[in-house]
């Protein structure tokens, strides 16, 4: 039987209702995609942070807010490094300056536009995994003026090797561009610790210290030792950092799932309501079809096909809207032009997210079509044919 033709024409016949229903689903899906893309980006960044300092202790000022490896605010005196080196079991302590570029008055931003990382130049390859630090050009040598920048920043400002940058009144030379899979490094400016302290006016201050331990040393013991010896610091092992961050990630994931469930349930209810109205108006057609020999299963299929078609069209439209929402949100919260997010669209809205959302929408639409389909099957052909006369 011509099920597709029948349901397409049924939907066209009730075009206003169909368009409104499709738009309703599209809005829900757009919201899901927008929120999903934003949360998955936050989660990806947070998870990535810990990849930099695996098996190391991060020492930060006491009571600062730490997301994985990175403290938000708070500084330590640089001499803390000397005190750390006095503790037995510590092989090396690398000072690091870390600054999030947040425009004044906009500290609510979810994604910092740029991240400045200052550390002793010779330690750069030791701190960042080589898989992340794929540099086009060379590492900085001159600690007073040479820097590396992430690929995203270089693309945004059209920078190339040997370019001169003006950063907060300083003329800096770009020696290399970081190309690699890291979201954080793609938005980073890496320079010597001294230069970072000068540029941001944090003389003799550092944000954190990365502590490398001797082999066969218990990280927890060393962390406790650090906190006992230096009373103004917090020493966090990898496990402790994960414990601090995982509730935040769980909370984000929980709200993400909650929003998904809510939106999908609302979509299901919308489709079911619209389809019950459609079935009510098609009772005579269905009764006629059954009278001339159509099986009840084909009637069931017509109703399900209608809901799936609405879901599919709503889902596709929602993906387009959602992509636009995700790109706009990311641009709004980072200050990075929209064009850069459009170019790397599938990094923001991953094909996995798009496909699973579409599949989930189709599944929900299919399920929400079952009630109207059962309603259609309960038609009393005799009564309908008679009463419509």
């Amino acid at each position: 039987m011509r099920i597709t033709a029948m349901c397409l024409r049924n939907l066209r016949h009730r075009r206003l209702r169909t368009i409104l229903c499709i738009c309703g689903i599209a809005l829900a899906i757009a919201f899901l995609i927008g929120i999903g893309a934003a949360t998955s980006r936050i989660i990806a960044i947070v998870k990535e942070m810990n990849l930099f300092f695996e098996n190391e202790i991060v020492v930060v000022a006491r009571d600062v807010f730490v997301i994985q490896g990175f403290p938000i605010g708070g500084t330590l005196p640089e001499k803390t490094i000397d005190r750390l080196m006095e503790i037995e079991g510590i092989e090396e302590a690398v000072p690091m300056f870390f600054n999030l570029e947040l425009k004044s008055g906009e500290i609510y931003r979810m994604f910092p536009a740029n991240i400045t990382i200052g550390l002793p130049l010779q330690k750069i390859p030791l701190i960042f995994p080589s898989s992340f630090l794929q540099v086009k050009g060379h590492f900085p040598v001159d600690k007073h003026k040479e820097i590396l920048v992430g690929g995203s920043i270089a693309d945004q400002y059209n920078l190339s090797e040997r370019a001169t940058l003006h950063l907060k009144g300083n003329n800096l030379t770009l020696t290399g561009i970081i190309r690699g899979p890291s979201l954080i490094l793609s938005r980073s400016i890496i320079m010597s610790l001294k230069l970072a302290q000068e540029v941001y006016n944090y003389d003799k201050q550092i944000s954190m210290a990365i502590v490398k331990m001797e082999s066969n040393v218990d990280a927890k013991k060393i962390a406790d030792e650090i906190e006992n010896n230096i009373n103004y610091v917090m020493a966090l092992t990898e496990n402790e950092r994960n414990e601090l961050t995982s509730p935040i990630l769980d909370e984000i994931a929980f709200w993400n799932y909650g929003t998904n469930m809510f939106m999908l349930t609302m979509s299901a209810m919308l489709i079911a309501t619209v389809e019950i109205m459609n079935v009510s108006e098609s009772r005579r057609d269905f009764a006629t079809l059954i009278a001339i020999g159509a099986s009840k299963f084909s009637i069931f299929k017509i109703v399900i096909a209608e809901t799936v078609l609405i879901g599919f069209l709503g889902g596709l439209l929602g993906l387009l809207f959602g992509g636009a929402v995700a790109v706009s949100l990311a641009s709004f919260y980072t200050g990075i032009p929209i064009l850069f997010f459009i170019q790397s669209f599938f990094e923001l809205v991953s094909p996995y997210l798009a496909l699973t959302t579409l599949a989930l929408t189709l599944m929900v639409c299919c399920l929400s079509g079952v009630i109207p389909a059962l309603f259609a099957l309960r038609i009393n052909v005799n009564e309908v044919l008679r009463s419509e006369y």
Partner: protein, 223 residues
């Protein structure tokens, strides 16, 4: 004998009251005969057609279709008999409003999974037979009531049925168009050797019929 009913009875219960819509009806239908069931509204004509057409189930009694007792059959077997052997013409035509004229005629054939080329060929022939070949791509709402009933007749003949059940086929039509429809129905069925049972209160139809029955209070009497 293509259809035979024995002691066919249908009782509707509404609350505590009981309505006998069809009362012990015995009817025998031979191939190619034109039977008219004449009676006032509410006499049980539609119920009887629905029982013969296997749309409804009797309270008691039997309906035999090609010697097969259909009361013992399941819904799916009854559906197949309707699809293969019975054509329906309704008073209000019941064309699918979203399909064109030719597509409406093709619907019963598509239920039989006949190839689309073959469906189109047969539908065009039927449209020619009812004189509507030029209206094939029109929607039902673009037709007159007489034309809609012609399409309904063409649809009823689509799967080459052995019997056509027509419930008040001229009920919605003026007298001239009604007469045309009766003549068309009669000539097509004679041509194709198809039996027809027409439920009507239009006396013009009874004049064309081979056998006329009168129905009153659910009981059927030969005139």
């Amino acid at each position: 004998m293509i259809v035979e009913t024995k002691d066919l009875t249908k009782i509707y219960r509404i609350g505590s009251s009981k309505i006998i819509a069809v009362n012990n009806v015995d009817l025998r239908v031979k191939k190619g005969t034109f039977i008219s069931i004449f009676g006032p509204s509410g006499s049980g004509k539609t119920t009887l057609l629905n029982l013969i057409g296997l749309i409804d189930k009797p309270t008691s009694g039997k309906v035999f279709f090609n010697q097969i007792d259909t009361t013992a059959l399941g819904d799916n077997e009854r559906r197949k008999i309707r699809l293969f052997h019975i054509g329906f013409v309704f008073q209000t035509f019941n064309l699918l409003p979203q399909f064109t004229v030719i597509e409406n005629i093709e619907v019963p054939m598509s239920l039989l999974d006949i190839p689309t080329d073959e469906q189109r060929k047969r539908a065009l022939k039927l449209l020619e037979a009812v004189g509507l070949e030029k209206r094939k791509n029109h929607l039902p709402k673009q037709l007159s009531v007489g034309e809609m009933q012609r399409v309904a007749i063409a649809r009823a003949l689509a799967n080459n049925p052995i019997i056509i059940l027509a419930d008040e086929p001229t009920g919605e039509l003026d007298s001239k168009t009604g007469a045309e429809i009766v003549n068309l129905l009669n000539s097509l069925c004679q041509e194709k050797d198809v039996a027809i049972i027409v439920a009507t209160h239009d006396e013009r139809i009874t004049k064309k019929a081979d056998i006329v029955y009168r129905m009153h209070d659910g009981m059927l009497k030969k005139c």
